[in-house]
């Protein structure tokens, strides 16, 4: 093969590649510049959980343990307790409530079984996926954090894909 044909061949390939690149420039972008831009997520995206409350602000969770029973990763630890006060003073919807509710995101695989199992619609998936931590302790969420997650959803740096 002569040098000339080799040069022609190279230039043709280069032009072909560049043509492809230049043709894509006006088209819509599929990447996002995270973290500057909000992340578009599906409405059903399974992010960090939150514990829901009812319309009066009472915790829906009654510590029935079904979420921890179904959890394939054994990530949920609960302790139930009795709240003997009358309904207006209670923290939860029932006298039975979770005194400890702990999810270990070092174990959680975000499969959503707990949300499926919950008979009280108390645990739900939020959209937060920024759960990385330098320590194991940083991966553990206690009940207060999970309750606060509910209100944190609105402030998340995301957009919901429709």
């Amino acid at each position: 093969m002569s040098i000339l044909s080799e040069v022609v061949d190279t230039v043709r390939t280069l032009a072909g590649g560049l043509a492809h690149t230049i043709a894509r420039i006006p088209q819509p972008k599929t990447t996002i510049s995270y973290p500057e831009d909000p992340v578009p997520l599906s409405a059903r995206f399974r992010g960090e959980h939150f514990l829901d409350t009812d319309e009066t602000g009472r915790e829906r969770c009654v510590a029935c343990f079904l979420c921890s029973a179904i959890c394939p990763a054994e990530a949920i630890y609960i302790e139930g307790a009795d709240d003997p006060r009358a309904y207006p003073d209670r923290v939860g919807v029932d006298a039975r409530f979770a005194s400890v509710y702990r999810i270990d995101y070092g174990r959680c695989i975000l499969c959503g079984f707990c949300v499926e199992a919950c008979p009280k619609d108390a645990i739900k998936h939020g959209h937060d996926f920024e759960m990385a931590s330098y320590t194991r302790e940083g991966l553990i969420r206690e009940k207060d954090a999970l309750l606060a997650n509910r209100d944190r959803q609105r402030g998340l740096h995301i957009t919901i894909r429709t």
């Binding site: 009654v62 343990f65 921890s68 029932d94 006298a95």
Partner: protein
């Protein structure tokens, strides 16, 4: 209603398949033996038939309607259908009715996960509910310090009522109101009962529940360990439900042990001391007059050094070692090794019963559960199993209720068990010996005068006892000396006849018999406590409540005069406060071992949780001290090796191996038989009768329920539930708030 054991069989057809079942069995039980479970609520294997829940209906050929299998007796050639669309439809219908007013609050209900109604509804029920009518709400109320009642969840099987009537002979539960307003409740106010909680455990729904387990961890999250109860000498098998390092409940639901599903108030609710915050959790050594935490190595070396010093300076006899009727056999065995290492004969324990006198005349084997259940005559003298040994009381009223056995009671106290007796002989205090003399054929007039009863009483009692073929004699702690010896050889005293007589000592502490077997009664306890500070200068006390008696101040002074006191206990007892070294021991829930029960049966204790704090099992602490004292201890860190050494040194335990206990549960120890000398017994009785104080007045105060049962002992007082509910052997009253909480139930 259990099946009669019979060799006869008959053949029935179940859904076209012929099966061979025992003749005379109930259909539901015959099918259970074949591995076929018929859903049921009101049927319970050792309660009389009720046939009210209609869940166990089956189709029997040529019968006009569906028949309840819990009351139908199998007949040869019977053809049964249990799995046809008709039956399944019936079950669906029955469950729909049961759930009509059920709140369906399974997520909140503590029975969730082990609920028979839930299981059956999942297996046989409809997936939807067709009832749109409003349910009758009923608030849950506490009906005792231990039990709360959610009336709306009830399916009216009446198991609780029957258990209270028949197992417990108390009858504190009843059904209230009628029709749709029916509830299970009490006769006004709080439950007036033994607080055994058996009604809760037989409940197939979440109607009756334990307050101790209210809203706690779910049953499937608990690690259940089968072990032996640490309260009375009956030795019930309990299942400790633990999660992590905490024991959450104590139940006997699977009914595998000698007690089946039975437990008493202490066995069921007295586990609180295990995780009590008052436990001693680390070794303490006294420095400059105050107890300071120390490491195990330092504490044990200090103990060994000081014991060695005292024994060298004042002789081995100056050191005393006390074991306990509360700790395991292995623990006592290792404690005896310490005494051996020092070379002191001063080893003892605090007995609650004169077992050496009892064993001397009994010999052979003690009366087991099977003996009690198959007896035709039961004689209780000088004790009240109703208060002290609830399981024994439960067992002995069963044949009495069925009319298979006659119960005779003789006591100087108006004991509660007398209510089920065919005859109760009320003795004057100390009149036991005179009564036994009368039974042995002595002069009725003399005996009756000293015993404080009519001659005809003794005469009729004697003829009743002599008429028995299988007699069980239960000897209580009121019998002492000659009376105890004679009562435990009653078979020799009665007229010759073809009868089998077995005996049961009504001892109290859980391992009394084990402590007697392992430690013996070489040196009497009183002679050791009496010479503390005088001839004895150092004491190693394990689980010994030295200052529980009336002479507490005198003992305190004596303990103060000791050169060296080391106390090994669960809690900071009064004696521990005076000690130079306190060694923290583990409870039965934190160690392996064995207890020997009232029938001389050895049963395993299994470790349910890791030792609390840095406590150690008694056998480990004692064997470490023995090793530091220079003894050659063969076992190292293994409780089974300690027990093997025990079986090698004690022939009664030779065949009671861990392996046998694993398969058989309770293994009875084998003791040499004794041959009591009749004439010597009679002469001892005669002199005891002559010495009886005939001016002593009869005790006319009836024993109140709970007088001993609700009494908080050395460990009971640290169990919060018991301590909150009971005071001085009485159930505490209710507060105004608690009274108010009951009002909704009354007004339903």
């Amino acid at each position: 209603m259990s099946t009669d054991t019979t060799t006869q069989t008959c053949t029935i057809t179940v859904d076209g398949v012929p099966v061979v079942v025992p003749a005379g069995a109930l259909l539901i039980e015959a099918l259970k033996m074949q591995g076929i479970d018929i859903p049921n609520f009101c049927y319970y294997h050792n309660l009389p038939a009720q046939a009210s829940c209609r869940m166990c209906l089956v189709r029997i050929e040529k019968m006009p309607r569906l028949q309840p299998s819990c009351t139908t007796v199998v007949r040869d050639g019977m053809a049964v259908e249990i799995n046809t669309p008709e039956i399944l439809d019936m079950r669906r219908g029955m469950l729909e009715f049961m759930l009509a007013n059920h709140p369906l609050d399974c997520p909140v209900c503590d029975r969730g996960g082990e609920c028979e109604l839930q299981d059956n509804a999942f297996k046989f029920g409809r997936v939807d509910a067709r009832f749109t009518e409003e349910k009758h709400p009923a608030p849950d109320v506490d009906i005792s310090p231990f039990i709360y009642n959610d009336a709306q969840r009830c399916v009216f099987c009446y198991r609780c009522i029957r258990v209270c009537d028949i197992w417990m002979d108390v009858g504190a539960l009843a059904k209230l109101n009628r029709g749709a307003h029916e509830t299970i409740g009490t006769f006004d106010g709080w439950l007036d009962c033994e607080h055994c909680g058996n009604c809760v455990d037989v409940c197939p729904t979440g109607t009756l529940l334990h307050t101790s387990y209210k809203f706690g961890p779910r049953p499937w999250t608990l690690d259940e360990t089968e072990t032996t109860c640490s309260y009375c000498a009956d030795g019930c098998r309990v299942r400790l439900g633990s999660r992590g390092d905490t024991v959450h409940r104590s139940i006997a639901r699977d009914g595998t042990g000698i007690n089946e599903e039975f437990l008493c108030v202490k066995g069921r609710y007295g586990f609180g001391y295990i995780n009590s915050g008052e436990r001693v959790t680390q070794p303490l050594v006294r420095k400059n007059g105050e107890l300071h935490p120390a490491t195990w190595d330092d504490a044990l070396e200090h103990v060994a050094k000081r014991l060695g010093e005292v024994s060298k300076a004042k002789g081995a006899d100056a050191v005393a070692v006390l074991g306990s009727t509360r700790i395991t056999n292995e623990g006592n065995f290792a404690v005896a090794e310490v005494a051996k290492a020092i070379g002191t004969p001063n080893i003892s324990y605090e007995p609650d019963y004169d077992l050496s006198t009892f064993m001397k005349s009994v010999g052979g084997r003690l009366a087991t559960k099977a003996d009690v259940l198959s007896a035709d005559v039961i004689f209780v003298i000088g004790g009240d199993p109703k208060e002290d040994q609830p399981l024994t009381a439960h067992h002995l009223v069963q044949p009495v209720f069925k009319g298979k056995a006659a119960l005779y009671v003789a006591s100087s106290r108006l004991v509660r068990i007398r209510k089920r007796a065919s005859k109760f002989v009320h003795l004057r205090p100390g009149g036991e010996a005179a009564l036994l003399l009368g039974l042995a054929g002595g002069s009725l007039e003399v005996a009756a005068k000293a015993a404080g009863c009519a001659p005809s009483d003794i005469e009729s009692l004697r003829s009743s006892l002599e008429g028995g073929r299988k007699v069980v004699v239960m000897v209580g702690s009121d019998c002492r000396g000659a009376a105890l010896e004679a009562a435990s050889s009653l078979g020799t005293l009665l007229a010759q006849g073809d009868r089998e007589v077995t005996y049961r000592p009504l001892v109290f502490d859980n391992n009394s018999i084990g402590a007697f077997d392992v430690l013996g009664q070489g040196v009497p306890y009183a002679s050791i406590t009496g010479s503390l500070g005088d001839s004895i200068s150092a004491l190693y006390a394990v689980g010994a409540d030295l200052m529980d008696g009336e002479d507490a101040e005198a003992v305190r002074a004596r303990l103060g005069r000791l050169d060296f006191l080391v106390v090994q206990d669960l809690f900071m007892t009064d004696a521990a406060l005076l000690a130079e070294v306190v060694l923290p021991a583990s409870t039965y829930a934190e160690q392996d071992g064995t207890f020997t029960n009232i029938a001389g049966e050895v049963q395993r204790v299994h470790k349910a949780i890791d030792p609390v704090g840095s406590t150690r099992p008694d056998w480990l602490i004692a064997s470490q001290i023995a090793r530091l004292l220079g003894a050659e201890v063969k076992y190292r860190g293994s409780v089974s090796a300690v027990y093997r050494s025990l079986t090698e040194s004690n022939p009664a335990y030779a065949n009671a191996t861990y392996v046998r206990m694993m398969t058989e549960g309770a293994v009875q120890t084998e003791r040499p038989s004794a041959s009591p000398d009749r004439s010597a017994l009679v002469s001892a009785l005669t002199s005891a009768t002559a010495a009886t104080d005939t001016t002593a007045r009869h005790n006319e105060v009836p024993t109140e329920m709970g007088e001993r049962l609700f009494h908080l002992g050395t460990i009971g007082k640290y169990s919060k539930l018991l301590a909150d509910a009971f005071e001085d052997g009485k159930a505490k009253g209710r507060s105004v708030e608690e009274e108010a909480a009951l009002i909704p139930l009354k007004s339903v």
